[in-house]
């Protein structure tokens, strides 16, 4: 298991540039699969594939900037059981206060893949039973006054993605994001004529946004590549947005490897100690052999 901790406290004078890449692809401990199949006969052809991977890892980053000048920040966390985030923030001359907290924990319990081909090699069936408990929490606060800021964020949990985009001279934003993926049971049946896929999983996403911008504000929530919410505000607007999505479905073989560390320290412990308003706790339904994340929004901050 890898543990990475990062704390940055910086006073800005003229120009500050921060780039942070965190991807399981370049770590030594990538665990997962990338499978694909093509089933064809003389008249038709079907394709199906799925990828999933993670790295056993604990990552912590706590960043604070405060000062005057030009800044640029690029952040990319990708490849942890389909959970990640991406940030691009640029500011022209102005006054900036920036706070960013990232907690990431991922582990792998097991992946079982059963494949069969029958019916004269025209019927393919794949069943994937995976347990990749992964948790990502991000808390991002920006306060800016100056010649201009451009801030773009993307948060995603497998097929669910949240986007924010801002241009502003007078800008403040507070974002809290929590994404978790525990386990999944994926079944696919492929014939030359059709593909049937069923995904049962235990995962959850919670997103709380509070922002104020005097020029451009954009927000989108996309699921399975289908836009669910798209909002664009031109002018001076305050936005308060709460999004939660939860899946309960796949039964897990063994629940003993769950992420006690993150829920006790990262959310309930760490944030409540900071007198924050965002809390989460885990509830185990022993009778259904399920393990789910329940997020509570107790008091959103208005901009």
């Amino acid at each position: 298991m890898g543990t990475i901790g990062l704390r940055i406290v910086s006073k800005l004078d003229i120009c500050f540039l921060l780039m942070l890449f965190l991807t399981s692809c370049i770590t030594e401990g990538k665990i997962g699969y990338d499978i694909g199949v093509t089933v064809s006969n003389s008249t038709s052809q079907s394709q199906w594939g799925r990828s999933q991977s993670t790295a056993v890892l604990t990552f912590h980053s706590d960043t604070v900037f405060n000062g005057d000048g030009n800044t640029s920040k690029y952040l990319n966390i990708v490849g942890f059981a389909g959970i990640g985030l991406k940030e691009n923030t640029y500011t022209k001359e102005g006054r900036l206060r920036y706070e960013d907290l990232i907690e990431l924990t991922s582990q792998e319990n097991y992946i079982f893949i059963d494949k069969t081909v029958t019916n004269n090699s025209e019927f393919y069936r794949c069943e994937i039973n995976e347990s990749l408990p992964t948790f990502l929490y991000n808390e991002n606060k920006i306060y800016y006054r100056g010649a201009g800021i451009r801030a773009r964020n993307r948060y995603y949990n497998n097929e669910d993605a949240l986007y924010t985009k801002y241009y502003s001279n007078r800008f403040s934003k507070t974002v809290r994001y929590a994404g978790t993926y525990t386990n999944g049971l994926i079944t696919a049946e492929v014939t030359p004529a059709r593909v049937d896929e069923e995904v049962l999983k235990n995962s959850a996403t919670a997103f709380v946004l509070s922002s104020s911008s005097d020029q451009y504000s954009g927000f989108a929530f996309v699921s399975d590549s289908v836009p669910i919410i798209e909002e664009i505000y031109l002018g001076s607007f305050d936005i308060n947005q709460i999004i939660t999505k939860e899946y309960e479905g796949a039964k897990e073989v063994d629940l003993t490897g769950w992420l006690e560390c993150c829920f006790s320290e990262g959310l309930e412990g760490g944030l409540s100690n900071k007198n924050e308003t965002f809390m989460a706790h885990r509830a185990t339904h022993a009778d259904e052999n399920r393990n789910i994340l329940i997020l509570h929004e107790s008091d959103t901050t208005s901009s």
Partner: protein, 277 residues
């Protein structure tokens, strides 16, 4: 030379089969599995073949166990399987009756793959390799009970195979081993054929075996044939060539068919190459 011509014909047939099977493939799987940063790729194409695979991936190790066989009563059955990373194997079987089993495993540092197969009549092309050694085998079998096992790992390669005729049928085989080890290469070609004409009731007996092995320093390849007289004429031979020795020849040997026998006559030939790094 007769054997050279037959080799050319076999290669042409294999190329034609390869082209044809690419067009008519029914199921093609292309998978990669990761554990502890190590990756094992697995590519398989099936035609009129049933297949079953179970993969287990844990944080420090992965295991892939798969088996395949032709659909009952089907003709034109074949599979192609390619597995590995630093060490790996490729196998193509085209036969109406065969059994195939593969076990592949890997940890964070290395991987290994074990292939087993049996076939009666058909073609099998196998290649197994690691960073130092590469071995290729081509087997064309006609009415034999042939089985082979080959193993590829970073530490070395190993294979063992043998065959004998299916009772009461006209039979023969061609078996070729090409090996490259530390820049040196060798090739062994063996062939046996029985005549169509039957004279007598005591069937011809023969068997052949092939063996390869390698480690960091040493590699070897061997083919042996043993045949006894019976109801058909038998012709067999083994030829060898290498990049560091003069060509070798064992045979050709001929055993006449006999109506009856008081004492069975047997002939054995074998050829072996060794390469030291």
């Amino acid at each position: 030379m007769r054997m050279k011509i037959s080799n050319l014909c076999i290669i042409i047939i294999l190329v034609l089969i390869s082209e044809a099977t690419t067009i008519t493939a029914d199921v093609h799987m292309s998978d990669v599995y990761y554990t502890s940063g190590n990756a094992v790729s697995d590519s398989m194409t099936l035609h009129n073949v049933d297949y079953k695979s179970g993969v287990m991936i844990f944080p420090t190790v992965l295991v892939d166990n798969s088996k395949a066989g032709p659909v009952d009563g089907s003709e034109d059955c074949w599979l192609e399987d390619s597995t590995g990373n630093d060490a790996g194997s490729c196998l193509k079987i085209e036969a109406d009756k065969f059994e195939y089993n593969k076990i592949s495993f890997a940890d964070g540092l290395s991987n290994a793959v074990i292939n087993n197969y049996k076939l009666e009549s058909g073609l099998a092309q196998a290649k197994y390799f690691n960073g130092i050694t590469s071995i290729r085998e081509i087997v064309s079998s006609k009415d034999n009970e042939y089985q082979s096992c080959f193993v590829a790992s970073r530490q070395g390669l190993y294979s063992s195979s043998f065959g004998w005729p299916t009772r009461g049928k006209y039979s023969g085989f061609y078996h070729e081993i090409s090996m490259t080890h530390a820049g040196k290469s060798c090739k062994i070609e063996s062939e046996l054929s029985c005549s169509d004409e039957v004279s007598g009731e005591i069937p011809v007996q023969y068997s052949w075996d092939a063996l390869t092995g390698s480690d960091d320093v040493y590699a070897m390849a061997r083919i042996g044939i043993s045949a006894s007289d019976g109801d058909r004429d038998v012709d067999f031979c083994i030829d060898g060539e290498s990049s560091y020795l003069t060509d070798k020849h064992s045979g050709p040997e001929h055993i006449d068919a006999v109506e009856s026998m008081d004492k069975r006559v047997s002939k054995d030939v074998y050829m072996m190459y060794e390469i030291i790094r």
